[in-house]
């Protein structure tokens, strides 16, 4: 079954065609990777899918609904949550609070209920807290619950960001370079974490530069070059694809 479908999507910035008539599908329960040289349009594509940018043309269908005209907030409410290439944790908030914000779409206390501290919010707050601790246990960051999130080591900040996204209980998790800035051990851990997330039933779409990670965990890989798709296949086939090798290593003439 297809969870996300990108159909003929294009985006132009002035004279630069960042994404050009791009189409691909993401199957429910799979891990799909987007790779390509720098400037291939991967992050732009992520921004288009997650509602940060509107496409110039084309359709994006998520869970049966067209989402290309929606804001990032509406997309998140529908169950698609992203992380960022440059970590965007909430400063001055603890790890626990950061993760608790992730429970926003699964709770409902508004301004009035909050100000009046209405009884129904007490149970809700308790459940938000419990679920957040559950996620922190899962990711092995519960010991840092009371630490200001941005004070953690870089690798742990990435894990917190993934945890915050998981707290939304997304159907589709978009990971923008989850291994960027991580050392080899942390990268391996991140790979295992992503596989575990998929095993929990969350579909994953990731942009990543670390080829060994991509080849190890992905079910399918899409290769972009200058905003166009040049290949879409299983990792082993991608490694042998002549066009892909040419784009990455250059012509041998």
């Amino acid at each position: 079954m297809t969870l996300l479908s990108v159909r003929g999507v294009s985006k132009r910035f002035g004279g630069l065609q960042a994404v050009n008539d791009l189409s691909f599908d993401v199957a429910t329960g799979s891990i799909k990777a987007l790779i390509g040289p720098n400037g291939a349009g991967k992050t732009t594509l992520f921004d288009l899918i997650s509602g940060f940018l509107p496409p110039d043309s084309g359709e994006i269908v998520f869970g049966g609904a067209e989402i290309h005209a929606m804001s990032s907030c509406e997309v998140a409410v529908r169950g698609m949550v992203r992380t960022f290439q440059h970590i965007r944790l909430f400063p001055k908030m603890t790890v626990l609070e950061n993760i608790m914000v992730g429970r926003h779409v699964h709770s409902r206390a508004g301004f009035l209920a909050g100000m009046l501290n209405l009884p129904f919010t007490w149970g809700e707050e308790r459940r938000i807290r419990e679920k957040s601790f559950e996620i922190m246990e899962l990711l092995g960051i519960a010991a840092h619950a009371r630490t200001e999130a941005v004070r953690l080591a870089y690798g742990q900040q990435r894990v917190v960001e993934v945890g915050r996204a998981l707290a939304c209980e997304p159907k589709l998790l978009l990971l923008d370079e989850p291994a960027a800035g991580l050392n080899m051990r942390e990268t391996n851990e991140m790979g295992r974490l992503i596989s575990r997330i998929r095993d929990m039933g969350v579909t994953v779409l990731l942009v990543e530069h670390d080829m060994s990670l991509v080849m190890k965990i992905s079910d399918e890989v899409v290769v972009l070059s200058y905003g166009q798709k040049i290949a879409e296949d299983r990792p082993l086939a991608i490694q042998k694809n002549r066009e892909v090798i040419r784009v990455y290593l250059g012509d041998d003439q």
Binding site: L89, F111, G114, E125
Partner: protein, 357 residues
């Protein structure tokens, strides 16, 4: 829970202690300025929520204060007897009007203060939504300038409108009747009760805002403040939350305007002035921005000193200087830990070190 409400109780204790102190030292006349301070504090804690927690600046909150004050002042002094009609008699029959003698022995028929207050708050909400919707799309300096523009518009409009008293403002505003024989009025016989009413309202407002800060919405606002795009990606409707907080703070300002106008018996255009808005922001800043207690305690001290005339003719200048100094030397406000060590570092810092870093 206790950690949230214990300071509230302590503050209530302080308010009682101040009243008792004025009673035993025979300085009860100070309570008048302290009561006015309470109403200004209401503006400031609301603004603190907007600036410190939602991260949105407003240099136009004196405008909302003035909208509240002027609407209630106009409605409770405008003599409907001189404008009879179906609408007026309908209002009169439904008990929404009150008759009272005017200063010259004649009689007045005006809108009931409660209805006037409701109208003032309603108008404030409408204006805040209309202004906030487009303006809150702006960030930083641009938002500051746009809200400044709003404040200037309100100021020039009340100054240039004849039926709002132009440069004189509106006087002879009646007291605001409350149950149990109480009233918000400047009569010296009601000085003590008004002091407690005003600070009671501030304490209530503080409790509401403290609850909000520690709620789901409070977390969401902190997230919007810290990383707006990431907050949106978590499903937080950032624009709506910012707008709601803007309107909430406008209502705090407007309610303060309504009640202080009844307490003072009138309102003048200076209440809408830009320098008032700057003063509110300065007090929030010196209190530490995202610190409701800091803003409240600074408001208590500075408004009291200002209203007692300690700053003389340099009143506005003092608040300008405060804002300048705070921004330069203590952008996190005065009331915080590490203040002394930070100050020491600032003083001992030499240019060579700065160059090296």
């Amino acid at each position: 829970m206790a950690r949230r409400y214990l300071p509230v109780a302590a503050f209530a204790g302080l308010i009682v202690a101040i009243q008792l102190a004025t009673f035993f030292t025979g300085t009860a006349f100070h309570l008048t300025q302290l009561t006015m301070t309470a109403y200004y504090s209401l503006v400031i804690v609301g603004l603190c929520m907007l600036i410190g927690y939602a991260g949105q600046i407003s240099l136009g909150h004196a405008g909302f204060f003035a909208i509240g004050g002027y609407v209630t002042a106009f409605l409770t002094t405008f003599n409907l007897k001189l404008h009879p009609g179906v609408f007026v008699s309908l209002l009169s029959k439904s008990g929404m009007l009150v008759a009272r003698p005017d200063a010259y022995g004649g009689s007045l028929l005006t809108v009931h203060p409660w209805l006037a207050c409701a109208a003032a708050i309603l108008l404030t909400v409408v204006i805040a939504y209309l202004v906030g919707g487009p303006v809150l799309k702006l960030k930083g300096h641009y938002l500051a300038m746009a809200t400044l523009g709003f404040g200037i518009i309100v100021y020039r409009m009340v100054l240039g409108t004849g039926f709002l008293g132009a440069a004189d403002g509106i006087s002879d505003v009646p007291g605001f009747p409350l149950p149990a024989g109480l009233a918000i009025t400047g009569n010296s016989s009601a000085r003590v009760s008004n002091y407690y009413l005003a600070w009671g309202l501030v304490i209530l407002g503080m409790a509401l805002l403290l609850n909000l800060v520690h709620s789901r919405v409070g977390r969401a606002l902190a997230a919007v403040h810290g990383a707006e795009d990431a907050a949106g990606a978590m499903g937080i409707p950032t624009a709506r939350y910012k707008l709601n907080t803007f309107v909430l703070s406008a209502v705090f300002a407007s309610l303060a305007g309504v009640l202080l106008t009844h307490y003072n018996g009138g309102i003048g255009p200076s209440e809408a002035g830009v320098m008032k808005s700057v003063r509110y922001v300065a007090i929030v800043a010196i209190g530490g921005m995202a610190n409701l207690w800091g803003a409240l305690s600074m408001s208590l001290v500075l408004n009291y000193l200002s209203l007692r005339g300690y700053f003389g003719t340099y009143d506005d200048a003092v608040f300008g200087v405060i804002l300048l100094l705070i921004m330069l030397f203590a952008p996190d406000g005065l009331l915080r830990r590490h203040l002394l060590s930070d100050l020491k570092r600032a003083v001992s810092r030499n240019p060579a070190e700065e160059e090296a870093s």
